[in-house]
């Protein structure tokens, strides 16, 4: 357990040191949001109604962009070998790595939700639900991204392939997250889609560390 915290601390520190990478991801997120009124027209009513979906779409694209650093960077600089040779269980190292990614990504998205909501004129009462969907949805995105990243790690860099592999699995997250926000926007209960999101986490969380570790081990040729 002590080792796990040390690893988690390291991974968060590593993410925190990559300020330029995160800054460019943030900029990407904001630009996607800013482009929406040009694509859909500036009518406040339309933007208000579509705001949660648009914000989630931007978050999804941002997470796709940020994923290639999950294992590919480690493979490229040799850290992956060190992880594989470590006496600790590879699953532990993988969980620490993905948990750090999740925490940083949620923090970033929560901060960015405010200006994005402002730009699109989203109602204030939707904001807590939106943040809750980030908290529930981002772990699923990161775990799925971890699986896809570990499977493609031997290919080094192929973002288009990663996107193709991930999009089918991202669709349920998008559906439930946006329907929770939509329910909140019309004053209804968002409980059901939020429970579905929780169920997705429950489905994907237990097997994914083992899948990722197995894929990383087999990726060595």
């Amino acid at each position: 357990m002590k080792n796990f915290y040390a690893l988690l601390h390291h991974e968060i520190r590593l993410q925190a040191r990559q300020k330029t990478e995160w800054a460019s991801l943030l900029l990407f997120f904001v630009i996607v949001i800013v482009l929406m009124p040009f694509a859909l027209g500036p009518e406040p009513e339309i933007l208000r109604r579509l705001a949660p979906g648009l914000i989630w779409l931007a978050a999804l694209l941002m997470s796709l962009l940020s994923l290639d650093r999950l294992f590919v960077q480690d493979a490229r600089d040799g850290t992956l070998d060190e992880m594989l040779i470590s006496p600790l269980a590879l699953e532990t190292i993988v969980v620490a790595k993905i948990l750090a990614q999740i925490l940083v990504m949620i923090a970033v998205l929560v901060v960015m939700a405010f200006p994005a909501a402002l730009l699109l004129g989203m109602e204030a009462r939707v904001l807590p639900v939106l943040i809750l969907t980030f908290a529930l949805g981002v772990p699923v995105l990161a775990l799925l991204g971890g699986i896809a990243g570990s499977v493609t790690v031997a290919l080094h860099r192929n973002p288009a392939l990663l996107t193709l592999l991930l999009i089918p699995f991202y669709i349920p997250v998008l559906i439930f997250a946006v329907s929770a926000c939509d329910a909140a926007a019309v004053g209804g209960s968002a409980a059901q889609p939020l429970l579905f999101l929780t169920a997705l986490i429950a489905l994907i969380l237990p097997p994914s560390p083992f899948i990722i570790a197995a894929a990383l081990r087999h990726g060595q040729g």
Partner: protein, 204 residues
Amino acid sequence: MLRVHNLSCRRGGRVIFRETGFATNSGGFALIMGANGSGKSSLLRVLAGLIAPAAGCVRWQDSDVAEDPAAHRARVHYIGHLDALKAGLTVREMLDYWRALHGAGQIKIEQSLAAFALTSMADRPIRRLSAGQKRRLSLTRLALVEAPLWLLDEPTSALDVTGQALLREVISGHRAKGGIVIAATHDDLNVPDAQVITMAGGGR
């Protein structure tokens, strides 16, 4: 002691090396020689347990390492071509990470920094280090945690004369304690009693 029996390695249906065998006693130094593409790096990766061999086995004190991979990982230090460094961290933070990765065990951060003459740079960001300093930092892993089997892939690349001397010293200390070193390198690290293993490649 380490015994290698009839080891073969295939990658993508291609034979990298076949039927390689040797034995190294504790305190021994094995030097792997061979042309580019003869499978030196692959042999080290198989010995480290990173790649499963296509045939043959690796034995440590008469037990097959494939039977208990976790125990084998705990006894191995593998230094590959790549330095395994994160540019954003400082030297000390990098060592902290390796300490976490290697779990418990005897940890000697200050001594290992001193062994590779990095004490004065402990708080310097890794991106400010020169290539030789980075290589020295990468080699610090060897002194950080005790492990009886060292597998070194081109350990002297980018090292200057002083760096090579430091590495030689660390290696002879390791051998004096009964450790085994297996290295693939072009220059022979000036080890007079090295056991030379010549790789013939895929045997075509």
